[in-house]
Amino acid sequence: MDKLKAARGIIYFFLGLLVIICFVPFYMMIINATRSNSEILRGFSLMPSTNLIDNYFVLDSYINIWIGFRNSLVIAVAVTVLNSYFSALTAFALVVYQFKGKNAIFIVFIVMMMVPGQLGLIGLYDLSSTLGMLDTYWPLIIPAIAAPFTVFFFRQFLVTTMPMSILESGRIDGAGETYMFHRLVLPILMPAIATMGIFTFIGSWNNFLFPLVIIRSPRLYTLPIMIRQLQGSPVAQNLGAIYLGVAISVVPIMIAFIFLSKYIISSITAGAVKG
């Protein structure tokens, strides 16, 4: 028994150490965001300093990071809503109806899950250019309507949780198909929508390559593109301001994570077990 206790103590010690190692980069980021450039050049410190406001003004004189926030948020919300709604609609059709071409769609799904997103990058850029959509959000948002993986996930969910009898009784009561989709199927799908929605949102929020290629105007920059802009910019002369810029992009996500971690973690498990 004592041996077990000792083992437990040692394990907790190393787990604590691992947590510290994991958070040192974030801690240094926050500390350095409060220090002046000369303080940072002189050496490192574990204690915060008093230059947070000054750093913010330096950063703000070069970029308005909140615009990046707003832009990323607009795109991520639009992507998540479109992805959830149209994937649900497609999954509904696949589960409820019998129609020609259903099997072909399944085969395409399986193949498309293996295709890396970059395969169509050059083509998507050129298509956007042809459609006059370069430097707009459309090429980043519209493709969310067709997300094979989400459809697949929703389909599996519906097959196991939705009794066909509720649709039958709905039909007898004279409910239209669209009405039933909105009133019966969407509520049933809600847990699955939440699961995939979180991942879709995070994926869009962190997306780097596609906005990098599509967006030109600084006022349309998403947060990751803005962060890239900081590197090698005049602000880079002031390390405190750079640290602050990174911190502003990171801390809200951390706060959101505190509230959502339970859902996020159960979603990962769901994805692995189903996938």
Partner: protein
């Protein structure tokens, strides 16, 4: 069953239209460009059809081969580290004798780096690892671990190791959660029976845990290799975006991006995209094959 129902087409129409336009069409267009010398400017009608020249160039391109090996090396280091830590943690937290507390808190803490924007992570590390003014060197110097600052991002081996390490830092929590779910799903009777038969810890691990975890391990491996082959944000933003130091951070997708959008070689960039796709398919197939064969072997062993 229901008969052929035309209403279905109405419901799937948005998906199909967008899918064909924004997914399939760009992929086919990319293929078409890969057999031309299109630069990306001046319209495709001014480009020439050059057959398989881009692909011929690809298989003789030392930069592409280097990019391939860089990608694999970075992924390999990252995966070994990530899987090792994740497996160890998963085993500790599922151990029925240890009964460790605070699983949920630890899972959340270890997972957190995963959701941080990679662009932010890369910029953060590029300044933390700075030669003279980075916090890491300052810390190591003041602790007396090193006597002179190390130029981390100017040495190919160090730079690649850092990308792998940062990747492992971002992903071990995710892998840990998945493995733990897998291990928790194994019936405890298996372990109890093995214990009664006098099996030690190592036997239960290699004879029960690993074989039972095969599907989950396959999932972890496949998702990791597909993601790993596409690594881009981190190497691009950690140094100059062109693969410095000395091409060590030039990964396949970074090369694709630079050929297309920095050097105006759309045609060649498109060929790289197809090369990458082929490599992804081959790696996934090999993984499936080897894992599947492994499973058959285990089953045979069981019937003996």
């Amino acid at each position: 069953m229901q008969k052929n129902d035309n209403r279905a087409y109405l419901f799937i129409a948005p998906f199909v239209i967008v899918f064909l336009t924004f997914n399939i069409y760009p992929i086919l267009l990319t293929f078409y460009y890969s057999v031309t010398n299109y630069t990306g400017m001046g319209g495709i009608e001014n480009a020439d059809f050059i057959g398989l020249d881009n692909y011929r160039r690809l298989i003789q391109d030392d930069f592409f081969f280097t990019a391939f090996f860089n990608t694999i090396r970075i992924w390999g280091m990252n995966f070994a580290l990530q899987l090792g830590i994740a497996m160890l943690l998963a085993l500790l937290f599922t151990d029925i004798r240890l009964k460790l507390k605070g699983v949920n808190t630890f899972r959340a803490l270890f997972f957190l780096p995963n959701i941080i924007t990679i662009a932010s992570v890369a910029l953060l590390f590029s300044i933390l690892l700075d030669w003279n003014f980075g916090s890491l060197n300052q810390m190591l110097l003041s602790l007396g671990v090193i006597s002179r600052p190390i130029n981390w991002l100017n040495n190919p081996t160090y730079a690649q190791s850092w990308v792998a390490l940062i990747g492992a830092w971002m992903w071990f929590g995710n892998t840990f959660i998945i493995l733990m779910a897998g291990i928790s799903g194994i019936p405890t009777d298996f372990y109890e029976a093995a214990f009664i038969d006098g099996a030690n810890w190592w036997d239960s691990f290699t004879k029960i845990t690993i074989p039972q975890l095969k599907p989950i391990l396959l999932y972890v491996f496949i998702t990791s290799i597909i993601g790993g082959l596409q690594i881009f944000d981190l190497p691009m933003l950690l140094t100059d975006g062109r693969g410095a130091p000395r091409g060590a951070l030039n990964t396949m997708v970074l090369y694709l991006y630079n050929q297309g959008f920095s050097f105006a070689n759309f045609g060649y960039s498109a060929a790289i995209a197809y090369g990458l796709f082929l490599i992804t398919v081959v790696f996934s197939a090999i993984t499936f094959k080897s894992m599947y064969r492994g499973q058959v072997k285990v089953k045979k062993g069981g019937t003996k």
